[in-house]
Every structure is written in C-alpha cells, then in structure tokens.
Amino acid sequence: MKITKNAVAGTLESSDAMVTVEPNAEGAGIEFNLDSVVINQFGNSIRRTVMDTLKRLDVQDVKISIVDKGALDCTLKARVEGALFRGAEQTENLPWGGAIR
C-alpha cells in the first residue's frame, strides 16, 4: 500500500490515539514517532502493534507519528489503519479480516 497524502485519524481524548501519516520517499522506510501517556508500560507493545499493522498492510515507506492517550490495542490498530487508508485514499472494499485483522 502506498501512502500518497498526509492523513490523520483519531482524537486526543482519553483512551484514544491520534495517528498522523505522511508519505515518505520510496525506499526511505518507516519513520516512527510515539508520544504516549503509558510509554513506560506499553511503549514497546505499541510499537510492535504499529509495525505489525504496517507490515500487514504492506506499507513500506511512511512517516507515522502517534499521540497516545492510553488507547487499547484494538483502538490503536483502528487509528493506524484509519490514517493509512485515508493516506492511500481507499474507503471501500476494504480487506476486513484479511490485511485488517
């Protein structure tokens, strides 16, 4: 999946996360930035979840930054996917249960 434009998903409410994605030059890879209220306990877990999600959606080049307000894993995935599909301008015929899982 190719990120072609800047996109945001999520909010800064408690238990939510705001995810911003920007296109990155081909071959530039993934730039990851995290600001989380639970970084001490879940920083590694959050990064793992985000990287797994990128991998599933086959995103190779992206700048992704996350402001996390204590989102559970299911919310994090949803926000990352939300931003990515917006960044790739796809809203229909989504791969539910496939790449999204």
């Binding site: 408690s14 238990s15 939510d16 299911c74 919310t75 809203t91 539910w96 999204i100």
Partner: protein, 300 residues
C-alpha cells in the same frame, strides 16, 4: 434452521458511539442485554470510515461477555451502508440494525448484503440477525410487512425522535405523540412473532419520568427499550423482572397444566382462578424471564 438467538432476552439495548473508544471498551460491565454499536447518527460524516475500523477491532478483540452486539448501519440512502455491513459481519457482529426502515424491500436489500458478507467472510449462513428501526409514518404503517420480511428479522424498534418530526409533532414526555406508533408496532410484532422495542428516553435528569415511561411500555407488551446511558439499565431490568407472586403463580400454572394435560382435563382452577391451556405460554414466559433475571430458584 432458525437462529436460536432470535428470541433471546432483550430488555435493554444500549446505544454506543463507535467513534468513542472509552465507551466501547467495556460496556458489558453495566450488564445490558444488548449493545448497539452505532455507525449512523452518532458518527460525524467525515468519520464514517474511521468508525468502521474501531468497530471491526472492537468486535474482534473485546470480549463482550455474552452481551449481544448489534451494529446500526448507515441509512440505505447513504453511500456507507454496504461497507458498514461488510465490516460488521467480518468483525463478527450478532445483528444488524437497519435505520429508517420503510418497507419489506428495505429488509430484503439488507438481507442480501448480509448473506453476501456471510459468504465472503466465511460465517455460517443465518448467523447474523437483522432488526429494523421504524422512524417514519410510512414505516409504522408498513410494520407488519417489515416484521414478516425475513426469517432473520428478530424485531422492530421505534425511533421516536424522527418519527414525531414526521408526524409534525415532538417528544413531549407524556407519550401521547407516540401512542399510535407504539400500539401499531407491538401489535404487528406479535402478529408476526417477532420482538418489539421502544424508543430512547433522552432526559437523564428525569429518572422518575423514565421509570413511568418504561412501566407504560412494559404494560403495552414491548420486549425492551433502547437506552442511552447505563443509569437507565437497572430501572428497566427492575420493571421487567417478574415479581415473586407472579413467578409462584406461573410455576403452579405450568405444573398444573402439564399434570392435567396428561389426565385429559382442559379447564381447572389455580388459587381460585380459572385456568386453561391459553395460560401456558404466558406462564412459561414468566418463568423464562425470571430465570434470565436471576430471580428464579425453582426447578422448572
């Protein structure tokens, strides 16, 4: 084969905005019978897509501990409803709620999409139920058609806000403006053998008014009520829980009928009341409701 969940207990159906992670993470703690995860009115137009990802992962990853998970899709006049159904069915929802239903055709259209999604995502055929919300004068007038439109349809629900606008009146708190719709719907639902649910009560500061409202719809025959806040759950469940004297009477009726039927006796008395076979289903229902409410200690 008919889905065994079609007739499950649905006293309370709590509305939750799919876009609010804080709301959807553990509503089961309040013990509603069903939750309604909303993709429609609660979700802003520009967040329709984002709400689906939340919904999908919530359905997949949150253990709702047996609470029924109903998904309200966007209206059939919107560009969203087909993808809503794919997402909900793939996520594993129990039921789909159709908003603004006006005809049997509306139910058929949704049913087809649900069948397609069940196939696409490898779910058992018939595993996803449907309910229809009636929100207009036309919908109310077509209630029986709608109730009989599909074997998957477990019930109909009144959506009072939109309906009263259509009637050119408004919610008054007295229930007068809803009288016709409520009567019509509950009669249609019973005629078709499906359930019937009442509209929300939005004034959270008036808990006495809420209680009166629930008492009224309980007497009218409704199976349950849509609710907007966990504060309302206990009141509904309290009103729908059979009283001890009714349970004891129902138990006697069931036992006597079982006994007398074997002996070929058609009419007899229990506690001085004339009883025949017509009382059987009602008494059974009281026992079932008592069991579901956790207040039955007998052996039936």
């Amino acid at each position: 084969m008919s889905n065994p969940n079609k007739k499950r207990l649905r006293r309370t159906m709590m509305f939750l905005n799919c876009q609010k992670p804080g709301l959807i993470k553990d509503p089961y703690i309040y013990k509603p019978d069903s939750i309604m995860l909303d993709l429609e009115d609660a979700v802003a137009e520009k967040e329709k897509d984002a709400a689906r990802y939340s919904l999908f992962h919530a359905l997949r990853e949150i253990d709702y501990r047996g609470v029924e998970r109903v998904v309200r899709i966007n209206g059939l006049d919107s560009p969203y409803w087909r993808e809503d159904i794919r997402c909900a069915v793939a996520g594993g929802c129990d039921s789909i709620r159709i908003p603004k239903t006006e005809s049997a055709q509306d139910v058929h259209v949704v049913e087809e999409a649900v069948i397609a999604a069940e196939k696409e995502f490898g779910r058992e055929e018939g595993s996803v139920l449907i309910m229809a919300a009636l929100e207009s004068a036309r919908g109310i007038m077509k209630a029986l058609d709608i109730c009989e439109a599909s074997d998957r349809l477990f019930g109909i629900a009144l959506s009072g806000g939109d309906y009263t606008k259509d009637l050119q009146t408004h919610i008054t708190g007295t229930g007068i403006e809803l009288m016709g719709a409520r009567q019509n719907m509950v009669i249609a639902a019973r005629a078709a053998g499906v359930q019937c649910f009442d509209t929300v009560y939005t004034d959270l500061d008036d808990m006495d008014g809420f209680r009166k409202d629930v008492e009224a719809i309980h007497l009218m025959g409704f199976d349950g009520k849509s609710i907007i806040n966990p504060r309302q759950i206990e009141i509904v469940h309290d009103i729908y829980t059979p009283k001890q004297k009714d349970i004891i009477f129902a138990e006697k009726v069931v036992k006597e009928i079982d006994d007398k039927k074997a002996k070929g006796i058609g009419v007899f008395t229990v506690d001085g009341k004339m009883i025949d076979i017509a009382f059987y289903d009602g008494a059974k229902r009281t026992i079932e409701l008592a069991k579901a409410s956790g207040v039955y200690e007998g052996d039936l």
